[in-house]
C-alpha cells in the first residue's frame, strides 16, 4: 500500500488521480502507524512552506517522516520541506537533503517570471527515478522558491538561476516539479518510483 501523507496543505486530488491512472493502490492518511507501515510514502503539498512545516509538526509527522526507511517521494512543497531551510517564511525544515530553498528573482530584461510556471527541461538526470527518460525531457513546474544545487541533486533545471529540480538521498526522493501533471514523462517517473 502507498501512503499519501495528508497534512492539510491543500488539494491531494491530482496526486490521487495520477496514481489511479497508473493503477496503484493508495490511501490518504495522517496516521503515523499507517505511514510507517506503508510500502512507499508520498509527501505532496501546495501552499506556503512555513505553514506547511508547522502543519507537519502539529500532526507529529516531522519526526515520523525523517525516520522512514521505505522509499519516500516529496513533491513540490513536500520536497522543499525535506531540505534544510526555506526562505519562504524563514523556516527550518526536515534537513534530509543537504540544501536550502530560495526565492527566484523576476527579471523583465531577460524575461524571467515568478512564479516559474509551465514546462521546463531537466538535465543531468540520475538514479532509477529517471529510468527510461533522457536529459532534456520536459516536466511541469509551479513554484516561486527552489532548492540550490547540491550533492543530492539528481536533476537540474534553470529559471534565471540553475536549481535542483529533483533530489535524492538514501531512500528519500523529491521533485520540485509535479510528476502528477507532467504528462507521459510524469507518469513514467511515478512508475519508476513505484518500482524502487
Amino acid at each position: 500500500m502507498i501512503a499519501i501523507v495528508d497534512y492539510d496543505t491543500g488539494n491531494l486530488c491530482s496526486v490521487c488521480n495520477a496514481l489511479a491512472r497508473i493503477g496503484v493502490e493508495f490511501c490518504v492518511t495522517s496516521d503515523a502507524d499507517k505511514i510507517r507501515s506503508a510500502d512507499k510514502v508520498l509527501l505532496p503539498g501546495v501552499g506556503e512552506a512555513s505553514s506547511a512545516m508547522q502543519k507537519l509538526e502539529e500532526r507529529g509527522l516531522a519526526s515520523v517522516i525523517k525516520e522512514l526507511k521505505q522509499p519516500v517521494l516529496g513533491i513540490c512543497i513536500g520536497m522543499q520541506l525535506m531540505c534544510r531551510h526555506s526562505e519562504e517564511g524563514d523556516v527550518d525544515c526536515l534537513g534530509i537533503f543537504d540544501t536550502d530553498v530560495r526565492r527566484f528573482e523576476a527579471d523583465s530584461t531577460s524575461g524571467v517570471k515568478v512564479p516559474h510556471m509551465g514546462w521546463n527541461s531537466i538535465e543531468q538526470l540520475s538514479t532509477p527515478l529517471f529510468d527510461n527518460l533522457n536529459d532534456g525531457c520536459f516536466v511541469y513546474f509551479v513554484h516561486s522558491f527552489a532548492p540550490d544545487i547540491c550533492n543530492d541533486a539528481i536533476a537540474v533545471s534553470c529559471n534565471g538561476r540553475s536549481f535542483a529540480a529533483a533530489l535524492a538521498k538514501g531512500n528519500f526522493y523529491g521533485t520540485q516539479f509535479h510528476p502528477e501533471k507532467s504528462g507521459d514523462v510524469g507518469e513514467q517517473i511515478l512508475k519508476n518510483f513505484m518500482a524502487l
Binding site: G10, N11, N17, R21, G111, V114, M117, N159, G183
Partner: protein, 251 residues
C-alpha cells in the same frame, strides 16, 4: 528557460464542448474529456475549459465534467466561466481543477482575487482581462466585451498581480475573432510591467501570429480555439513550426 506554452481553449455548454466540427479522428468531438485527451496527446501544454452554460443545470453538469477531466487528463487545466465567489472556486478545486480563471467578477469585486489567492495560492488564480482601445487608452471590458469600464488595463493588471493573481490571460477585444494577429506592442508593454506570466488570447490567424506574440510580444503562452478546433493545424504541428522560429517549446 521555461518553454512557451500552447493552450487550446474548449467552450463547454451544458456539459458538451461546442465548436470543433472538423476535428479529425474523434468519435465524439462534443465529449470534453475525449477532446482534451486528444489535445494532450498532440502536445498541448495545458487546457482551458470555459463554461458558457446559461443555466444552473449546466453549471452543475460542468462540475461533474471537471471531475472527469481531472481523473483522465495528465496535464494541467484551467476552468473558467461563471466563477463569482470563493465557494465557486472551492467547488472546482475540490473536484480537481488546477487553476480557475476569473474575469467580470474580479472587476466587480477585486478582493475576490485576494480571497482565492490567500486560501488556495496564486498558482490557482488566473486573472482574465478583456481590453479594448478607446481614445488611445486600453480600458477593461466585462461580460464578454459588452460592457466598458473606466478601469485602465495596465493599472488593473498590476493591481491583479499585487492582489495575488498568478497569471494574466489578456484578450484584446479589438483583435479577438479577427484572425489578423495579436497587438504585440501591447503584450510586450504588459510583460515589461508585470513579473507574473502572461497568456495571449484572441486574434491568432496563423503560425506567424503566434510566433510573433511569443517573441516580439514576450507572452509566456498563447491560447487559441478556432485554429485547433477546425483542424487547420494540430497543436503538435504548430509547436514544431514554432521551434523552427527559434521559440523554446516542449516537443
Amino acid at each position: 528557460m521555461v518553454a512557451k506554452r500552447i493552450i487550446p481553449c474548449l467552450d463547454v455548454k451544458e456539459g458538451r464542448t461546442v465548436k470543433g466540427v472538423n476535428f479529425v479522428g474523434l468519435q465524439d468531438v462534443g465529449d470534453a474529456v475525449e477532446l482534451g485527451r486528444a489535445y494532450a496527446a498532440q502536445g498541448a501544454d495545458e487546457l482551458v475549459y470555459l463554461d458558457i452554460s446559461a443555466t444552473v443545470e449546466g453549471r452543475n453538469t460542468f462540475t461533474s465534467l471537471v471531475e472527469r477531466i481531472a481523473q483522465n487528463i495528465n496535464i494541467p487545466f484551467t476552468v473558467g466561466g461563471g466563477i463569482s465567489t470563493i465557494d465557486d472556486a472551492a467547488r472546482l478545486l475540490d473536484v480537481g481543477a488546477d487553476k480557475i480563471s476569473i474575469n467580470s467578477a474580479a472587476v466587480r469585486n477585486p478582493s475576490l482575487i485576494d480571497e482565492i489567492a490567500a486560501k488556495y495560492g496564486s498558482q490557482f488564480v488566473v486573472l482574465a482581462i478583456d481590453a479594448k482601445r478607446v481614445d488611445g487608452r486600453y480600458l477593461i471590458t466585462t461580460h464578454g466585451g459588452r460592457q466598458l469600464t473606466n478601469r485602465e488595463l495596465f493599472a488593473w493588471a498590476r493591481e491583479g498581480q499585487e492582489r495575488g493573481a498568478g497569471e494574466i490571460l489578456l484578450t484584446s477585444m479589438d483583435h479577438d475573432g479577427t484572425r489578423e494577429g495579436y497587438p504585440c506592442d501591447l503584450f510586450a508593454e504588459l510583460s515589461q510591467q508585470l513579473s507574473i506570466p502572461i497568456i495571449a488570447s484572441g486574434g491568432a490567424g496563423s503560425v506567424e501570429d503566434i510566433a510573433d506574440v511569443l517573441s516580439k510580444g514576450r507572452a509566456d503562452a498563447a491560447l487559441a480555439a478556432s485554429i485547433f478546433h477546425y483542424g487547420e493545424i494540430t497543436v503538435g504541428e504548430l509547436k514544431r513550426r514554432l521551434k523552427e522560429y527559434g521559440i523554446k517549446v516542449r516537443v
